[in-house]
Structures are given as structure tokens and as C-alpha cells.
């Protein structure tokens, strides 16, 4: 089970934010293309940073607490998922907030 330590944090974060989708009907996943073009350009930049930091030894991971699957640039699977799950949590959150406070969205879009 120990190798799931990092993955557990990702699952917690996803579940902890995605429930807004059901509870507040934020409709984020319905707009998955907009999610993709919001998340991917940013995650590419942060993954480049991650690759550099790993190569330079700025940070490193306990091999016993990750699944041990590595993608390009020696970045663990969990890190790739991190840069999808955390940005999606941010989108779930801001959509949740503007669902509860629709006048904030009105100010934003001028509708």
C-alpha cells in the first residue's frame, strides 16, 4: 500500500474538488475541451520546470511511496497527474464559487 502514498493525495484532491460538479452542477467536465486548453498549456510549462528541477536534483521522490511508473524526462506518473488534478481542482473551485455567487461571474463577463 505504501507505494500509493502520493497517488492517495491526488485521489483526495480530485474527489475533494470534483464533488462540486455534482453538488453545484458546475458543468466543468461537460466543457472538457475548455478544460484541456486551459490546463495543458500551463501544465506543459510546469512540467518543463519539474523536469529541470528533477534533473538538477532540486527535489526528488521516495521510490517506495510512488507507483514507480515514469514518463518522459524521468518524471513520475504522479507528477504528470499532479499537473492535471490540481489545475482541474482550481477550475472546479472557481466555477463552484461563481455558481454560488453568480453576480461575480456577471461582473466578469458583462452579461
Amino acid at each position: 500500500m505504501k507505494q500509493w502514498s502520493y497517488m492517495a493525495m491526488l485521489i483526495f484532491t480530485f474527489c475533494g474538488s470534483a464533488w462540486l460538479e455534482i453538488y453545484l452542477k458546475t458543468g466543468v467536465l461537460r466543457r472538457i475541451k475548455r478544460v484541456a486548453i486551459s490546463v495543458l498549456p500551463i501544465s506543459v510549462l510546469f512540467l518543463a520546470w519539474d523536469a529541470y528541477a528533477i534533473a538538477q536534483g532540486h527535489w526528488f521522490f521516495d521510490r517506495e511511496q510512488i507507483l514507480g511508473i515514469f514518463g518522459p524526462f524521468g518524471i513520475p506518473l504522479e507528477e504528470y497527474l499532479f499537473f492535471m488534478v490540481i489545475p482541474m481542482a482550481a477550475i472546479f473551485t472557481i466555477e463552484g464559487v461563481t455558481t454560488v455567487k453568480p453576480h461575480w461571474r456577471k461582473d466578469e463577463f458583462g452579461e
Binding site: D62, K101, R105
Partner: protein, 101 residues
Amino acid sequence: MIYSDIAITAFSIAVMVDLFIFKTSMLTRPAFWTSYAIILPFQFLTNWWLTSRNIVMYNPDAIMGLRLFSAPAEDVLFGFALLLSVMGLWEVWGRKGYQRH
């Protein structure tokens, strides 16, 4: 450049992009700051999990050494840059009318 330098750079770039390129000015919006206030405690919690259990470890030479809830203080700048830029870009597409609803 070490983590501290890159974190400060990323934070500065994200703020500049928000103000001058995206022009979404998330930084002036209650929706952004409310979201950030909701996310920050969870960032501390999940970062505490990753760092206190040594799932992720940092080279002492790459960080300032100041730690908040076991995680390097730099993580706050890193997280802010990530959250601001993603929410900003989400907002850019919404303003353009792309999958607004």
C-alpha cells in the same frame, strides 16, 4: 537557478501575464481570491502530506529553508503561479465565448 529563484520568477510571470497579457485581471476579482482562500488550506494539507512523509524531498541547497507546515515556503509561490495561470486561462476562453456555459 535554484527552486527559490524559479518560484519567484514563476510568481512574477504569472502576475504579469494576468495583468498585461490575459487581461483577465483575476487579481482584482473576488471570485479568484475566494477560490484561492478555499484552495490554500488544502494546498497546505496536501503539501504537508507529501513533505512530512518524505514522499517528496528537497535538496537543502535548492531552497531557502523556511518551511510552512513542513513544505518549503517556495511552494506557496509555485502554487499561486499555477492556480492563477490556470484560472486566468480558463477565464480567457470563457470571455472569448468558448464553452462559456
